[in-house]
Each structure stands twice: as C-alpha cells, then as structure tokens.
C-alpha cells in the first residue's frame, strides 16, 4: 500500500500540468485503500482461477467439459445480485462499505470450501457463491471510489483503482504456481494461501476504508428506495449513458472469442495461447492511469467512445490481410487500451449524472445493462460463428460496433462534463 501510495503521489506531483492551477492532485486515501483491497482480493481469486482447470483434471481426475454450461444462469443471477448490492448500499445513507465488505467476505469464505468440495456440482456451487460475492461488492465499491474523489479527478481515481486491481490479477497466477511448484501439486496449500490472502483483503477494507456516508448527504436528497433507483432511468443523462453502454456492449465480442480469433487468423502458436489474456491485462495495467487522467481532461464520454474506437481497430486488424509478426501485440495493446479507456471511465462518467445518495444503485444499473448486453453479444456471436463462420461473425460485430458508436456519438450526454 505504501509503495502504491508513494508511486501515485510521485507521479501526480511529477506531472505538472499547465493551466491546471494548484488543484490538489493526490488520489484520495480511500481510493488507494480500495485499490489495495482489490489488488489483494484479485491475487486471491486469480490464484484459484489459475489452478482450477489443473485441479479438476489432474488433481481430482474430473472431466471439466460442460462445466461452463451454467454460465448463462450465473450471469442472470449475478446481474440481479449486482442490482440488489447497489440498492442495499444506498439504503440507510451509505452502507457502501459494509455491503462491499459482505461481498468480499463471502468470496473469502468460499476458498476453504474448495478444500472439501471434491466433485463437480459442489465446486460449481462454491464458484457461483464466489461470483455472487463479486456481484454484490462491485457497485458499492465503485460508488465509494466516486464519492471519495473530486469530480474533476474521478477518471484518474478509477484508473488507479483499475490498475491496482489488474496488478493483483497478474500476480495471482504467479503466486499460485510458486506454491504449486514448492508443494508438488499441493492444491490444498494453494486454496489455503488464497483464503489467507482474501482475509487480508477483507481486513484492509474493514480497517482502512472509512465507513458511513463518504460524502455529506443532503437532507432533502431523494430517499434511496427501489422506486427511486429505477426512477434514475428518467434522468436523461443516465438513461443515455445506460443505453449507450448497452448498445456498445451488444457489439463487444467476449475476450475468449477475441483470443480464439487471434489464434485462428494470425496462427498464434498453441504454447502462447494461454498468455494472450496476460497481454490484454498488461496493456490495461499500464494504460489505466494515463487514460483515466486524459479522460479527466478531455471528457470521460469522449474517452469511453475512443476506447471503443480502439476495439474497432482491433477488430479491423483481425479482419485485415496483414499478417506481420507485430500483429498479435498490436491487437492485444488495442484490446487492453479498450479496457483502460472504458472500464473505470464509464463508472466515472456515470457518477457525474447520479446523485450521491443513489450513486451505488445508478452504477449498478449501468454495469448490469452492460453485462447483460455483453452476454447477449456472446450468445449471438457464437450463433453467427456457427452459421456463417468466424470472419463473417467478426465483420458483423465490427459493423454493429461502428453503428452503435455513431448512435452513442449522437446520444452523448450533454451534462457539463467536469472541465479540467
């Protein structure tokens, strides 16, 4: 935490911006604390994810095929949980910390259960509960980040958080395989270490993230009822953001398809296949903070659309006949840039048009819309691939993305973006 703290402060102090005046530029301690919690939690969860296939096949001798069949159900449940988490956090004037904490604790509690679950069904259930914890915590945590940073530095705050989060995701598999190497297939040790790490994450949250309302609430503010949460959609800006996120989500091909296309079209050797997600994550990690800062300056909405332009370029490269050796790197860089320019930036943009007392519900709404749209895209992309082949499916997605991008450009929220 201190390392991240000093690094973020140093870079913030080092980047002297003309015309920015003497505005306080350090990232809020709450954001750094939440970033630390996410970093630690991602180390823990990615440890499990990294060894899970090996554990199922080599450790337990199970056939994991068809294990993903329940993904559709999970996605639906996870969307509901997300909305519920967002709503619960807003009720009672800022219970964000405790709802997020419950989500982190739920996921932590799943790790020791993996030690006892020895067959597919219980393991699937444990993973579902783990995912429920993730669904529960995401919106309250993002609300806390937005509430504890000033409007004009929100993009950077989310960038710092996402960078720390991704760093954890990159470290997790490393830790897992170190443990596995030291213990020769000691999956129980991996799960135990993962549990201990997860508990540290929960403790950091409980001890170092301030509870209660992160921002002083207006007495006359809308009470956080369910009706008020859905009434948020009557706000033009939030409605437009949600609709745009939904439209663009419908044209966002899921990661696994992108890697599969990359391998098929560019002939990436099998041995590199497992490393492709690391390329995206590394680019995301490196670009999250700089793009968040740029978003604060040029406008988050513009950055969000720019991110989708990067995705469109990545599609274009995958469709092009150019087969240079740099192509996989270029595609992964663009893919990572897409995440860096959209993931935290969308939350920062949405936060601008949701009042603080309904922040968590509002962010959950946008996230859920996006998640549902992406899942729909996955299904239709799979169907298009089946019917017309991968090239046609990707061409269709590229056209859809360009169209949705144009609509989003026309629909852009007109609320004064935080100037910088």
């Amino acid at each position: 935490m201190y390392v991240a703290d000093s690094r973020a402060t140093a870079s913030a102090a080092g980047a002297v911006r003309p015309r920015a005046g003497r505005r306080r530029t350090a990232v809020a301690p709450t954001v750094l604390a939440l970033g630390t919690v996410s970093l630690i939690t991602d180390v823990s969860s990615e440890m499990v994810t990294a060894v899970l296939p090996l554990y199922l096949v080599a450790g337990l001798g199970l056939s994991p095929l068809g294990f993903g069949l329940l993904d559709g159900v999970y996605n639906g449940v996870s969307a509901l949980v997300r909305l519920a988490g967002g709503h619960l956090a807003d009720r009672g004037g800022g219970r964000h910390k405790w709802v997020a904490g419950a989500g982190y604790a739920l996921s932590a509690a799943c790790k020791p259960l993996l030690l006892v679950a020895q067959t597919l069904t219980p393991i699937g259930l444990v993973l579902a509960v783990d995912r429920t914890g993730k669904g529960l915590r995401t919106a309250p945590r993002d609300a806390l980040i937005s509430l504890s940073s000033t409007p004009e530095t929100r993009g950077r705050a989310f960038g710092v958080h996402r960078a720390m989060d991704t760093a954890g995701a990159l470290l997790g598999p490393l830790v897992a395989f170190l443990v596995l190497r030291a213990t020769v297939d000691g999956y129980d040790a991996v799960f135990t270490v993962s549990f201990c790490v997860a508990v540290v994450g929960v403790l950091v949250l409980v001890l170092f993230v301030p509870g209660g309302a992160a921002a002083p609430l207006d007495r006359s503010a809308t009470p956080a009822t369910l009706r008020a949460a859905f009434a948020l959609l009557r706000r033009r800006d939030l409605r437009r953001i949600t609709v745009c996120a939904l439209l663009l989500g419908l044209a966002t091909v899921s990661d696994s398809f992108v890697y599969l296309l990359l391998q098929r079209r560019l002939g990436v050797p099998d041995r590199w296949f497992a490393l492709l997600p690391l390329g995206t994550a590394a680019a995301f990690l490196l670009l999250a903070v700089p793009l968040g800062r740029v978003a604060d300056r040029v406008g988050r909405w513009r950055m969000f659309l720019g991110g989708h332009l990067a995705l469109l370029l990545a599609y274009g490269l995958l469709l092009s006949s150019w087969h240079g050796p740099a192509l996989p790197y270029a595609v992964l860089l663009l893919h990572g840039a897409f995440y860096a320019a959209t993931d935290g930036v969308l939350m920062a943009a949405a936060a601008d048009s949701v009042p603080p007392e309904l922040r968590s519900s509002g962010l959950a709404l946008v996230q859920t819309g996006q998640a549902v749209a992406r899942f729909t895209c996955s299904l239709s992309f799979g169907a298009a691939w089946t019917a017309w082949g991968d090239r046609a499916a990707l061409t269709g997605s590229a056209v859809a993305l360009a169209l949705c991008g144009l609509i989003a450009l026309a629909l852009r929220p007109i609320a004064p973006e935080s100037p910088a």
């Binding site: 296939p53 993903g68 699937g124 993730k134 040790a189 790490v197 403790l203 296949f273």
Partner: protein, 340 residues
C-alpha cells in the same frame, strides 16, 4: 479507532495468516517429499532398459507408485502387470504406443506456469519429434502401424472465475511431421449434412489399421457423437450418438467407449459399453462403476482401463462381451499400452 491500533490489528492478523499459509505450504511440501520415498508393500521397481518393440510381450504404463520412479514410464510382464517393474527414466502424464512408436504427453515446468508437449518416442524411447500441447493432456493414441499419433488436451478459460472449458484433439503424422492442431480444421458431416458450429469439441481419437480411418468423439450443443474421420479427405462423419472416448478393437469391428447413462449421478455419469460397428448393437460391460478413461484392448476379448486408486489410479480388466467381472490387475498405474 486510531490509526495506530488499526495498524496493530492488521499486523497481528498478518502474523497469524502468514503462519497458517506457511504451515499449509510446509505440510503439502512434506507430503510431496514422502512421495519420493518408496512405500511399503509397493511394487518392485528397478531402473533398466525399456523397449517399445522386440522385448517380448510387455505392458508399458505410467508408474504412480511412490518412490524415485514416480510418474516414469515402466514396463511389466503383459500377463502379470502387477509384477516387477522396469523404470525408464522418462516421465509422462499420458502415454500410448504401437509398433515401436510411442507418444508421451509431458508437463514442462516453466518459470511461471507449466506448459505441455507431446513427444514422439522411438522404440528405445529416444525423442523423434515434439509438439506443443495447448492445455492439460487427457488422451493419447498411436495408430496400429505406429505412423500417426493423436492427443487431446483440455483448454481452460482464463477470465475471472471462468468455468468454460473446451478440448482440442490433435493428430500428427510421425513420418512427415505434419500436425493437425485441432480436428476443427476438418469438414464435418452430421446426419448427412455439412455441419459447422463454434461450440464443437473433439476428443478421444482412436485409429484403424489402414492409416486412413480413425474414430473420435464430437460434442456439440450438449450431445456427444461417435465420428468417423478420414485422414486423406480430412472429413468427419457422425455415426452414433452418446459415445465418448472410443477405442477400436484390434480386429476393427467394435468400439469400446463410455456412455452417459440416464439416472446416474452427475459426477459419475458413465457406463462402459461396446458398440458393434456393423450391427450398431450396444453391449453393456460388467464394470458397475463409472469409468472416465479411454479403454485399451489387450486383445480382441479383453479391455483394460484405469479407475481412481490410493496412488492416483489402478488398472482393471473386463471381458469385452459383457460377461464376467472386472478385476484389478495393477495398482498405481495409468495409461497402459501393450507392446511386444
């Protein structure tokens, strides 16, 4: 709470958690060390020379007994697989051999994570070729002539709590070195019509003696099919539903396989069957347990397969005509291949 007390709480919790984590790692490491010591009552194992042809009837398999030769290829008398084992020093996760050609699926310990490869072995277990394997190895086969080798790997999802898995079945021509990394490259004909789907998975290749025909499992939309493949025209044709991990009899007339049966628990869904290719008749075998393995024909009448055991897996036999009973023939063994 002051910052000081909060830091104090965190530090004390860290001490406890680090101790728990360290204890679990040390415990697991000590267990791994014990596996390096030969256990009492285990099979006799001695290092020696191992040949995939010309050494008389032997069974070659991956030894899983604790001790210095754990995970190595060993050979034992074909008529007494539980007899003394000769260890080769070559480690494999999965193995198969025919006519002096072996295929050994190995883990390669990298600095960050393990990768996998398929190594083609000659009669004396010398490496002839190697290929990357994109995931955790599962099945291995060599054609009866020794010319073609095939393997299946599980490829896992990488996203957060990603639970979707797929399989890749690859075929290598050991004479030309040509590799087909996935059977998805073949044209598929299902129920007489060309078939294409993004969710298609293949696994469990088994070869016929003509070095042209093979069989495998194709899965799509939640169902599995026995497919017949043609190495020359690069096509696959569906033959029969609900067939996994086919294994062709030496006389080429029957397929032994695991079939998903109704009413079986989700975690043990299979029963062993033999399918007569000319009549389409299915015969249930006398093994009552659910088996997750690609069977091996010891001869035209007897099948060999692995079931989970105290040291990973044990080998069993059962008659191919549905009569008799299953017998355990070796403990701490997996991936058998009969050579002579």
């Amino acid at each position: 709470m002051t910052l000081r007390s909060r830091v104090l709480i965190l530090v004390s919790a860290l001490v406890v958690l680090v101790a728990v984590a360290a204890a679990s790692v040390l415990h697991a490491a000590a267990r791994a060390d014990r596996r390096e010591q030969a256990g009492p009552g285990g099979p006799r194992i001695a290092a020696g020379r191992l040949a995939l042809a010309g050494g008389g009837p032997r069974v070659v398999f991956r030894n899983m007994a604790w001790g210095p030769h754990r995970d190595e290829l060993v050979s034992a008398p074909a008529d007494d697989p539980s007899g003394p084992r000769t260890a080769s020093g070559v480690k494999c996760l999965r193995f198969y051999a025919a006519s002096g050609t072996g295929v050994c699926l190995q883990a390669v310990h990298g600095p960050v994570r393990d990768t996998y490869r398929a190594v083609i072995l000659d009669t004396r277990l010398k490496e002839r070729a190697r290929y990357d394997v994109p995931g955790i190895p599962s099945r291995a086969r060599v054609s009866p002539s020794g010319r073609f080798a095939a393997w299946t790997a599980f490829v896992g999802g990488d996203s957060y709590a990603g639970t979707a898995f797929s399989t890749r079945a690859a075929i290598a021509d050991t004479r030309t070195g040509r590799l087909t990394p996935t059977l998805e490259a073949y044209r598929t004909v299902k129920d007489g019509r060309p078939y294409r789907a993004a969710d298609v998975n293949f696994w469990g290749v088994t070869f016929a003696a003509d070095d042209r025909t093979f069989y495998a499992t194709m899965a799509t939309h939640g169902s599995t099919y026995l497919v017949r493949g043609d190495l020359r025209t690069r096509t696959l044709t569906t033959l029969h539903p609900n067939v996994e991990c086919p294994s062709l009899s030496p006389d080429g007339t029957r397929i032994a396989y695991k079939k998903r049966v109704k009413g079986a628990p989700e975690d043990a869904p299979w029963h062993l069957y033999v399918l007569n290719l000319s009549t389409g008749h299915e015969t249930a075998l006398a093994e009552p347990r659910s088996v997750d393995d690609q069977l091996v024909w010891r001869d035209n009448r007897t099948l060999v397969y692995a079931l989970p055991g105290d040291y990973g897996a044990d080998l069993y036999t059962v008659p191919a005509d549905g009569t008799g009973k299953a017998h355990r023939v070796a403990t701490a063994a997996v991936s058998p291949a009969y050579v002579d």
